[in-house]
């Protein structure tokens, strides 16, 4: 038996990182600068408010901000566990805006320096942190925390920011992944057979037509699962939306909504 995740599940088990960069403002378009020198704004540490504005890009979901580190070999090890199953962690990230910043964010001139600036002298610089979209309710994590600690932190943010039951939703989503895997495995097998049959007897053979029908049926099954997935996610989203609206905020959108 093959216990590896199929294509659909794999897509759902990717963290949707955003990689914001600061860009110097473009010179005024259309302005006649031919006889003037133009001052270029040098890179500098943005104020904390500007930094949050830039990394959120208008997204009001809670933030998961991670700084890369050469010791982490460029992977997400500060968030994910090298030895344990990370599916729940990844599924939880879909309710966050995930922001990855470069290792040099600790340089004082880096535009996002203030995001990781220690609050007090001598305090350990976190490797990642969770917070509300405006930077409030910051929960730093050192990077070497246990998986249970990551989950505890993530669930507590979700409890605060969403009204839906994230624990229940994640459990249901994981069950869906297994159903996606079944459909993918059957489809993969049928597609291989169809490919072989078409190459052997052409696309009009009875067998080829039979396989095509079976593949179409599987795609319908998958679409039903997609609808179910949206429902699970929308439940959490709807309740959060209501909370957001009552607070006069823009409604958040899960990273993979509608997929």
């Amino acid at each position: 038996m093959d216990f590896r995740r199929g294509r659909t599940s794999k897509n759902r088990l990717l963290i949707e990182w955003t990689y914001p960069v600061w860009k110097p403002p473009a010179p005024n378009a259309g302005a006649d600068d031919s006889n003037r020198t133009v001052a270029v704004i040098a890179e500098h540490a943005l104020s904390i408010e500007q930094a949050y504005e830039l990394i959120t890009g208008g997204d009001t979901r809670p933030l998961l901000v991670l700084r890369e580190c050469e010791k982490c070999k460029g992977t997400d090890h500060a968030l994910l566990n090298r030895d344990l199953d990370n599916e729940q962690t990844v599924l939880l990230t879909h309710w966050f805006r995930c922001v990855k910043l470069p290792p040099n964010v600790l340089d004082e001139q880096h535009p996002f320096f203030n995001l990781f600036k220690p609050q007090q002298d001598g305090t350990r610089i976190p490797h990642l942190f969770l917070c509300s979209h405006d930077g409030s309710n910051k929960m730093p994590l050192p990077g070497d925390q246990t998986q249970a600690e990551v989950w505890e932190a993530m669930f507590s943010v979700l409890e605060r920011e969403y009204q839906g039951d994230a624990k229940k939703a994640v459990k249901e989503l994981r069950a869906l992944l297994s159903q996606f895997d079944n459909v993918d495995a059957m489809e993969r097998d049928l597609k291989a057979r169809l490919d072989k049959e078409v190459e052997k007897n052409g696309p009009e053979s009875d067998k080829a037509k039979k396989y095509q029908t079976e593949i179409a049926d599987l795609q319908k099954d998958r679409n039903k699962l997609f609808a179910k997935e949206r429902q699970i996610r929308t439940l959490a989203r709807k309740q959060q939306q209501a909370a957001g609206q009552s607070a006069g905020q823009k409604a958040p959108v899960p990273a993979d909504a509608g997929k």
Partner: protein
């Protein structure tokens, strides 16, 4: 310029560390890390900015075809130092050759386990050793500097191969602005950026090119009119060193075609894609530069076996693409697996039956004058000329192209 199709599903696993070498060889491979860099640090940081194969010696550099190391001007008036400033100092190795500027943050990898692939690599290393005597032609692994030198060699070899096959001499490119620039008609060198991390590629593209992307991208830089190919290997399943080599060959072939005499219009899609795949398929890898679409039925285990698959398909009606269908392909993103494979095979046929004529085909297409009203060359004009040239140079109209190509496929491609 369009974004590349993303590569398909996993085809071969990353290869395990293997091979036995002497301590001396290992020492040549792994220079002492710079002060302050620990064993845990990134491979490129550990390798340090100094090339261990030349030590910066001008004579060794010249023999190796290295013009200079970073920092140097990159493209669009941005220098490698500017890029380092954004992505982090010391995380990218920079090297300039006769026709390329290359940035590379690829980490150390093991040699391929497959014997054919390994032999192919050893041949490359042997050629490299002739120019860079410090190179071990049977190394334990490929470290960042060695990978950079290998990709520099591959890029220059492909450039030389392209100019030779297409019959392009240096006299055609005296220098200056496009279409007379020294680099296939462009005014400045081709750019190749090979990154380990998706994050670095995304930041580079966003900050310096103003585009979003984190896997693979080709673009013509507007200000300095340079062709850039950039890719990140993280997350690309099956992307071992030779998978990446195939991908780079594919990207460079596209950039050579587009850059030749200046990038002012798109070549016929079937020809450009087929030609790029033709270069990529020379590399012994199971990695294919195609995203198989959800509605396509392709056996994942055999999807890289293009000659066999084309051979089986041309035997039935409705399983291969007629020339008229091929000529009508226009949207890169809409190309399916079969479109890519069939385009490759058509170019394979043309190259096998008249490589010099393919050169003439390209030259005459790229000499297409702009319309008198000063506008750009239309897709229809390019398509019409391409079909006229197929007739003139190869005596192929759509029907004869189909017939002769099918006959050739059945005669040439292996059954299994």
């Amino acid at each position: 310029m369009s974004k590349l199709p993303l590569p398909g599903p996993p085809l071969c696993a990353l290869l395990l560390l293997c091979g036995v070498t002497s301590a001396a060889r290992a020492a040549a491979q792994e220079p002492t890390p710079p002060p302050g860099v620990t064993k845990e640090d990134d491979d490129v940081l550990k390798a340090g900015p100094k090339d261990p194969f030349t030590d910066g010696d001008p004579k060794l550099m010249a023999a190796a075809g290295v013009v200079r190391y970073g920092p140097f001007p990159w493209g669009d008036h941005v220098s490698t130092a500017d890029i380092d400033h954004v992505l982090g100092t010391g995380r990218i190795l920079w090297l300039e050759t006769e026709h390329f500027r290359i940035g590379c943050s690829l980490r150390k990898v093991a040699l391929p386990q497959d014997q054919d692939k390994r032999r192919y690599l050893y041949d490359e290393l042997k050629r490299l050793k002739k120019r860079l005597p410090k190179v071990d032609d049977h190394p334990k692994n490929l470290d960042p500097w060695l990978r950079l030198h290998l990709f520099a060699q591959r890029a220059e070899e492909q450039y030389a191969d392209f100019t030779k096959r297409m019959g392009l001499g240096a006299a055609e490119f005296p220098g200056g602005a496009a279409p007379n620039g020294k680099y296939l008609g462009l005014p400045d060198k081709f750019l190749l950026l090979l990154l380990q991390k998706k994050a670095d590629l995304a930041r580079y593209l966003d900050r310096f090119c103003g585009v979003q992307g984190d896997r693979s991208y080709r673009i013509c830089l507007k200000q300095t009119n340079q062709m850039l190919a950039a890719a990140a290997v993280e997350g690309m399943e099956g992307m071992d060193d030779q998978g990446l080599q195939g991908h780079v060959a594919y990207s460079l072939a596209h950039n050579f075609l587009d850059g030749y005499r200046g990038f002012t219009f798109e070549l016929p899609l079937w020809f450009a894609e087929g030609f790029a795949h033709w270069y990529a398929r020379k590399v012994p890898t199971d990695f294919i530069n195609v995203t198989v679409k959800d509605d396509e039925a392709v056996d994942q285990e055999k999807q890289h076996q293009w000659p066999q698959k084309v051979r089986r398909r041309v035997q039935h009606d409705g399983t291969w693409l007629h020339a008229t269908q091929l000529f009508a392909l226009q949207q890169p993103a809409a190309l399916g697996y079969q479109d890519h494979m069939m385009s490759w095979s058509r170019v394979d046929y043309l190259m096998a039956t008249g490589e010099d004529k393919v050169g003439l085909f390209l030259q005459q297409l790229k000499h297409l004058p702009p319309p008198p009203d000063g506008g750009t060359v239309s897709t229809e004009q390019v398509q019409q000329l391409a079909q006229k040239l197929l007739q003139q140079l190869f005596a192929l109209d759509a029907d004869t192209f189909d017939t002769r190509w099918r006959e050739w496929v059945l005669k040439t491609y292996v059954k299994k």
